[in-house]
Symmetry: C2
DNA sequence: CGGAATCCTCTAAGATACTG
DNA sequence: CAGTATCTTAGAGGATTCCG
């Protein structure tokens, strides 16, 4: 997992926030995690999240959630009880990405049936 | 480079086109390549594209462009002359991604200055 | 239950050299 | 100029085990 921004030449990097956005959402599972915190059940526990994501490993899910949290995109709420309970949800900053995620989803819905796949 | 869609469990995969979109735009340089074909100079030659992208290697740029072309997102126009000349541009399908790309860029512009980076 | 720690695999991407 | 062909490598991600 890369904490640094992708290295982009000046012309693109200085003029746009594109590289910044990419640095926060790129990674095999980041966007799909954010997306799965959208919708009807926006507060999800660790194992439920893992179940939703399918084949992701404990390790990768854990690391990715930490990154998303330290980037301020999700909120981790821990209940000090036994057995432990931790809930993840989108922060306000994370919620501001929802329009982008929705748009990507819609693009896929439209174009996955194009003659040219 | 992966030709197959990311493996997503049924609940997410069947209901949404999100996984489909991800499978077409994920990769270290795909989105930034698409984005760099947006804007003032939307028809770009191979080496100029390489220059714009900075540190990408010949090999990676070549492979990525092939994938984008076979996914119908960009158009490759070859001029049979010596020295060779090849121009890349967004297809209609690729242009339909511009709103998503613009939104991502704008999100970065807004949030790269947040107190929480 | 929700992880952390350890070790390991695999592939996307890089470096370099060459060519029509 | 616009690529291929080889070979190499980093590091993201997986599998397994252990813990409070």
């Amino acid at each position: 997992m890369n904490e640094e921004a992708v290295d982009i030449p000046c012309e693109l990097q200085e003029e746009t926030g594109f590289a910044y956005t990419l640095s926060r959402v790129s990674g095999k599972y980041k966007m799909i995690i954010l997306y799965s915190l959208t919708g009807a059940t926006p507060v999800v526990r660790f194992n439920e999240l893992k179940r939703r994501l399918g084949k992701i490993s404990f390790r990768t899910l854990s690391l990715t959630l930490k990154e998303l949290e330290s980037d301020g995109l999700i909120i981790r709420k821990e209940y000090p009880q036994i057995p432990p309970k931790v809930e993840y949800s989108l922060s306000q900053r994370g919620q501001s990405l929802i329009p982008v995620l929705d748009m990507m989803c819609e693009w896929g819905n439209i174009h996955s049936n194009d003659p040219l796949n």
